[in-house]
Amino acid sequence: MAHSNWAEWIYLGVVTALLIYVGAEAWNVERIIDHAPADAEIIIVTGQQWFWTFEHEDGTKEVGELHLKKDHAYKFEVTSKDVNHDFNIPEFVVLMDAIPGRINTVWFSPNEAGEFEIQCREYCGLIHYNMRAKLYVEDV
């Protein structure tokens, strides 16, 4: 049977155009945020069941809390000692899996001072729900 399918083709064209737009915009934004600035300070983040430890460039270690400076760029080298975890600072959209045997990197520059939550975003067992830490961003 001969249907006039022109309506369907126009509809598909609109849908495809929208998707191309979303894809291109996403590609562009990701491209920009993918590279950490060269002067970013490196923080080693280690996740293990069920707490976080942080090591600054100068060797200072912090367990369960992290003190950073406002408007400084930081690059996190994230890894795990046992099972998969996920290092997440929701208020700054920092998110990266902590995988044992592998170091993943994610960077940010906190633009607000205050106290923020760090949580685990990958199921890691019994106390996954309470694998939290505190981020303190100081204005200096």
């Binding site: 069941q49 367990v63 369960g64 046992d82 106390i127 309470n130």
Partner: protein, 188 residues
């Protein structure tokens, strides 16, 4: 076609009831089996898990000996700081009674009375290892990391050292030793 003319009953109250009895009965039987065996289903660790935790079937690093000395009862409570960042036995760091050191002689029987006085999950064991949560000497363990003591639960275990040296009593949940749940047992 004649078969479409007459009213056709394919199911009846009797058959519906039979169906429900069979299905509900199966679920009930399954539930009975599940709950009757309780924690059995989650009681073990996989061989790879045991390897990771350093739990081996081989000869203990300190094989068990008979008691030739005195009984030393020790009470240890798992406690936590409010923010869960610091853990300890009996008292937090800086306060009296924190992680008490136990002194004993070879052949003494140390009887551990353990209570989880915190809000999180803990388990107990004695090890020779200077770090980590493995190498737990057999007979000294109470609960385990994958089946831990819930708040308010407790247990007992004993340890008869056969060799002099420094032993450690720890919480065997990974990471808890690093957060402070460790004490020493000095055996002469």
């Amino acid at each position: 076609m004649s078969e479409y003319d007459e009213t056709v009953y394919r199911t009846s109250p009797g058959r519906a009831a039979k169906l429900m009895i069979i299905l509900v009965g199966l679920v009930v039987v399954g539930g009975v089996i599940f709950f009757a065996l309780g924690d059995y289903w989650i009681s073990e660790l996989s061989p790879a898990g045991k390897a990771f935790a350093g739990i081996t079937d081989e000869e203990d690093a300190a094989p068990a000996v008979a008691q030739t000395g005195a009984d030393i009862p020790v009470t240890l409570d798992f406690i936590e700081s409010k923010d869960f960042r610091t853990l300890a036995f009996n008292a937090l760091p800086g306060e009296p009674g924190n992680n008490p050191t136990i002194n004993a002689k070879v052949g003494d029987r140390i009887i551990f009375n353990i209570l989880n006085a915190g809000k999180s999950f803990h388990a107990f064991g004695v090890t020779l290892n200077e770090e980590g949560f493995g190498g737990i000497l057999s007979g000294t363990d109470i609960a385990a990391a994958n089946n831990p003591l819930k708040p308010g639960e407790g247990g007992t275990s004993e340890f008869i050292p056969g060799e002099p040296g420094t032993y450690y009593y720890i919480c065997t949940v990974p990471g808890h030793r690093e957060l402070g749940m460790v004490g020493t047992i000095i055996v002469e």
